[in-house]
Structure formats: structure tokens, C-alpha cells
């Protein structure tokens, strides 16, 4: 039975007013602008876009401001907003081979055409706090420049592909992917559906699952064949026109792993692939996604299921979404007075019965 309980309205309104005041913090400190968040907290913006599953840097920056920097709360705001948008259609698959790369590295081929381009990376920094950043009004730093490459930067996996040493990624006849934003996530999940769930999955969760494979729970011997970060145009067929135009461009991070594979009942010894593609500059997420993608492919590669968590599609896909998870987790803090009242009655009754039984036993 539900009992309507009233009386919280004034308290809730006042709580939200206080939240707004706390969000603003000390009024003597300058207020953050959306542009400042977008420009100077870009990696937080990227994470909110990736897991919010909507590429719009200004909106993600607004969500971060509103959520007081709680990124999962910001992701929640973006997810809620995107459900209000009409869907105009879908793009052609982005051509990451034609990416304008800011960064492109390979852990497997030193001399790959296009070279090892480090880009704006935290790698090789000493992770020492830079107290110079505490000062205000510093001159804007200027990066070094050199003559840009004119040639395209081919995917490194193409070289292994041409030797037949790498399992090819083939296009299915029906190349229309299932969409978990349009239909409930149902198993079995094919690889396109898994990739969608992983790219919008919680970075921490996907990282933890990926790390578990490295530590031995379904080890899959990954090399980072290539990691690239850069911009790609997004092309869509426009129904009014009958031809495709570029409707925008976006920064993506792509990771292709090359995994040692000694062969199975159905497949010859060769290298196999894991794939990660994520909105924005999000390397940790893209590498994690590639490792988990590879682990989840055990069945199609004829590998043994060793019972590792990262091989369990249901476990991974049903727990990767931080909005579903935090929604269910956090709802338990909301009033459950009636539920609890009935639990209380039950416990009291059981105790009375137990006490009566022991008194009876003692009397006998």
C-alpha cells in the first residue's frame, strides 16, 4: 500500500535554493563561464559527451557547471536532454582513416608511415604538481610548429592485413546496427551493439574490466597497434537533397589493439583485433574499450570461456552504464518508509515467535 506523505515541498525548494548558492561558491571568486569550462576543462567535457552519448561541447560544459563538477550527474543531465531531441537520421560511418590526426602512436611499429606523433599528451610528464599554474594572468603558452604532413595517415593494421596475419574485420550483409537507445539491450548482443554499449559505458567500469583481463582474468595479450586522436567530418545523406553533405566535425579517439592468438578450433593462428572509438580525446577509455571488446569476442573466435568477468557479455553490458547504475543505486536513499515499516513488522513478528518458542522449550 502506498501512503501519500506530504510536507516535503518547502524543504525541497529550500534545499534546491541552497544547492544553487553552494554551486556558486564564494561570490568573491569570479564565476566560471561555459566557455572557460569548454576550453580549459576539455577532457571533462569530452567524458561527459562520450558517456552522455551526445557530441555538443557547450552543452556538456553547461552540464558540468550545473552539476558542480560531478561528471556522472552531468552525464545524467545530457542523457535526459538528448531524449528531448528529435532524431533527424544517422550519419554515414565516420572514416577514421581520413582523420586529421593531432596524435598518432603505435606500440607495435616504430617506423609506420606517418610516424609516431605524440600530440598534446600527459605521457612522459613527471606528474609533479605545477605550482606555476596557480598564478593568474600568465602569458598564453605557445606550442612549437613544424611543416605539416600533406599525405594521409593510413591505419597501421592495414600493413598486417595485407600479409593476411590479422583477422579481417568484415562488413555484414545487413549493415544496419541495432541501437540500444531505441530498443532495450537484449542478449545475445552482436559486436556492433556491444561497441555502442562500451563507448557510452562508464570509463571507470570499462577500465576496471580491461585491467582485469591484463591481470589474468581472460588474458588476451593486447598490443596497442595504433592509437589516434584527431578530427573527422561527419557526413549524412540529406533527404531533401538526395545527396550527402558534411553536417559537422568531431574529435575522436580510436584505439586498435592487435592481440596474439594461437588459433582455435575454428580459426588459424593469427593476430586478432580489439577496437575502441570514443568521442573526444579519451585515450584511457578508448584503450579500455578495445581490450574489453576483444575479451567479449571469445565466442566468435572459438576461444574457451574461462569464466572471466570480462568475457561475460551480460555482466559487462548490463553494468557498464553509469546512469542506469547510479539511478538504481541512489534510489535507495529516497523515502522507503512504508517498505521499511512492513519489514519492521515482519522482524518483530519473527522475534515474538522465536521468543515464544524458546520460552516454551525452557518450560518443557
Amino acid at each position: 500500500m502506498y501512503v501519500a506523505v506530504k510536507g516535503g515541498e518547502r524543504a525541497i525548494d529550500n534545499a534546491h535554493d541552497w544547492l544553487a548558492e553552494e554551486r556558486r561558491g564564494d561570490p568573491a571568486v569570479a564565476e566560471l563561464s561555459i566557455a572557460q569550462i569548454r576550453e580549459q576543462l576539455a577532457l571533462a567535457v569530452n567524458r561527459v559527451m562520450a558517456e552522455g552519448s551526445l557530441y555538443d561541447p557547450d552543452l556538456a560544459a553547461l552540464a558540468i557547471k550545473q552539476a558542480r563538477g560531478d561528471l556522472i550527474e552531468a552525464i545524467f543531465l545530457i542523457r535526459a536532454y538528448r531524449t528531448t531531441l528529435p532524431r533527424f537520421g544517422h550519419s554515414a560511418p565516420v572514416e577514421t582513416g581520413a582523420m586529421a590526426c593531432d596524435r598518432r602512436i603505435s606500440a607495435t611499429f616504430k617506423d609506420a608511415p606517418g610516424g609516431q606523433v605524440l600530440g598534446p599528451t600527459f605521457d612522459y610528464t613527471h606528474r609533479l604538481l605545477d605550482f606555476a599554474l596557480e598564478a593568474e594572468g600568465l602569458e598564453a603558452p605557445q606550442a612549437a610548429q613544424a611543416t605539416p604532413r600533406r599525405e594521409p595517415t593510413p591505419h597501421i593494421t592495414e600493413f598486417l592485413d595485407s600479409e593476411g596475419l590479422l583477422q579481417p574485420d568484415l562488413r555484414p550483409e545487413d549493415d544496419t546496427p541495432r541501437d540500444l537507445t531505441r530498443e532495450p539491450l537484449e542478449l545475445p548482443a552482436d559486436r556492433p551493439l556491444r561497441l555502442q554499449a562500451l563507448t557510452r559505458g562508464d570509463e571507470g567500469f570499462v577500465l576496471g574490466m580491461a585491467y582485469s583481463t591484463q591481470r589474468g582474468y581472460g588474458r588476451n595479450h593486447p598490443f596497442v597497434g595504433e592509437l589516434r586522436v584527431g578530427t573527422v567530418p561527419v557526413e549524412m545523406e540529406i533527404p531533401e537533397l538526395g545527396f550527402a553533405i558534411e553536417i559537422g566535425e568531431m574529435t575522436l579517439t580510436e584505439c586498435e589493439t592487435v592481440n596474439q592468438f594461437t588459433g582455435s578450433k575454428t580459426e588459424p593462428p593469427q593476430f586478432t583485433r580489439g577496437y575502441g572509438l570514443v568521442f573526444g580525446h579519451s585515450e584511457r577509455k578508448a584503450i579500455s574499450m578495445a581490450l574489453v571488446d576483444r575479451a567479449l569476442r571469445w565466442e566468435e573466435l572459438g576461444e574457451d570461456n574461462v569464466g572471466a568477468p570480462a568475457q561475460d557479455t551480460e555482466f559487462v553490458l548490463y553494468h557498464a552504464d553509469n546512469i542506469q547504475a547510479s539511478g538504481f543505486l541512489e534510489h535507495i536513499k529516497l523515502p522507503h518508509y512504508v517498505d521499511f515499516q512492513s519489514e519492521l513488522e515482519l522482524i518483530r513478528k519473527l522475534r515474538r515467535e522465536a521468543q515464544a518458542a524458546s520460552r516454551k522449550e525452557a518450560a518443557e
Binding site: 551526445l54 557530441y55 533527424f88 560511418p93 606523433v117 598534446p120 574485420d169 561497441l195 578530427t231 586498435e256
Partner: protein, 156 residues
């Protein structure tokens, strides 16, 4: 400014090109150029600016099966100039003003005003986009690793 009638249907490649430039342009840049150019001709809406989303797809392993990567915000609009020329816009982001201006440019590019519009609006947008891309490519090039081999003695 009143547009003269469309002399001919523009070639699809050219239209694809200018619509793509408009879609990717920062809203503030397009607005500044449009204002400087001197305001809007009369038109009627066929579809008032509408904010929506497009599901962006990728491919497994960059070349394999398509999958849904996530959505991006897009604003679209369609309008008709007084001479009957129809302009469409599908532009990145949520700016209704950007969609309106892009649809007007698309329409005007099909009229006798094409040359003026191209020089006043499209050329500067293209130039700015090329400069941005060149700036990033130049910075990337400066971070390219130049390997050299240490002489270790055994080859002497």
C-alpha cells in the same frame, strides 16, 4: 538586397561543398560575416529552425560492421526566397540563427548573388577552417618523434 532569379541549378558537388562549409563553421563567425554582408533578404519558412540529433556511426575496426557511436546536435531549416529559390541547412550545434543564415546562404548561392556571397561569406569561412586545421597539423608535426640509432660498438 534582392536576389536575382536562379540562372541555373548549381552543380551538386559545389552545393555539397558550401553546405559542408556552413555546417562546420562556428556560429559566431558565420554571424559576423553575415551581418557585415548586410542583412537578410525576404523569405518564407518551409521549415523553421529545428534543433535535433543525428546518430553518428563508426565501424568495428574502422572498416568492419557499422555501429552506433553516439549522437551529435544538429539544427536544420528550410526556406524560400521571394523568387522561389529554396535553401536548406543542416548545421552542427543548436544555433537557430546559424541554421537560418546557412539556409539563406544556400539559397543565395543558387541565385545571381552567388559570386558575391561566395567571396563575402564562404571564402572567409573556408580560409578560417583551413587555418585552424593547418595550425593543428603544424603543432602535430612538431611532436613527431625522429628516431635515431645509437652506435653500440658491435658493428665497428
Amino acid at each position: 538586397m534582392s536576389p536575382s532569379p536562379a540562372p541555373e541549378t548549381p552543380d551538386t558537388d559545389a552545393r555539397r561543398d558550401w553546405m559542408s562549409v556552413l555546417a562546420k563553421a562556428p556560429a559566431a563567425d558565420l554571424d559576423a560575416l553575415w551581418q557585415a554582408h548586410g542583412g537578410a533578404p525576404a523569405f518564407t519558412w518551409l521549415r523553421a529552425p529545428e534543433v535535433g540529433a543525428v546518430m553518428v556511426r563508426g565501424r568495428a575496426g574502422a572498416v568492419g560492421a557499422a555501429f552506433n557511436l553516439g549522437e551529435m546536435s544538429v539544427t536544420r531549416a528550410s526556406l524560400r526566397l521571394e523568387d522561389g529559390t529554396v535553401g536548406h541547412a543542416y548545421v552542427q550545434g543548436r544555433s537557430r540563427r546559424k541554421a537560418e543564415q546557412a539556409a539563406l546562404v544556400d539559397a543565395l548561392m543558387q541565385t545571381g548573388a552567388a559570386e558575391t556571397i561566395s567571396a563575402a561569406i564562404l571564402a572567409p569561412l573556408k580560409g578560417a577552417a583551413a587555418d585552424r586545421a593547418e595550425g593543428r597539423a603544424a603543432r602535430a608535426a612538431a611532436t613527431k618523434v625522429e628516431f635515431f640509432t645509437m652506435v653500440r660498438g658491435e658493428n665497428k
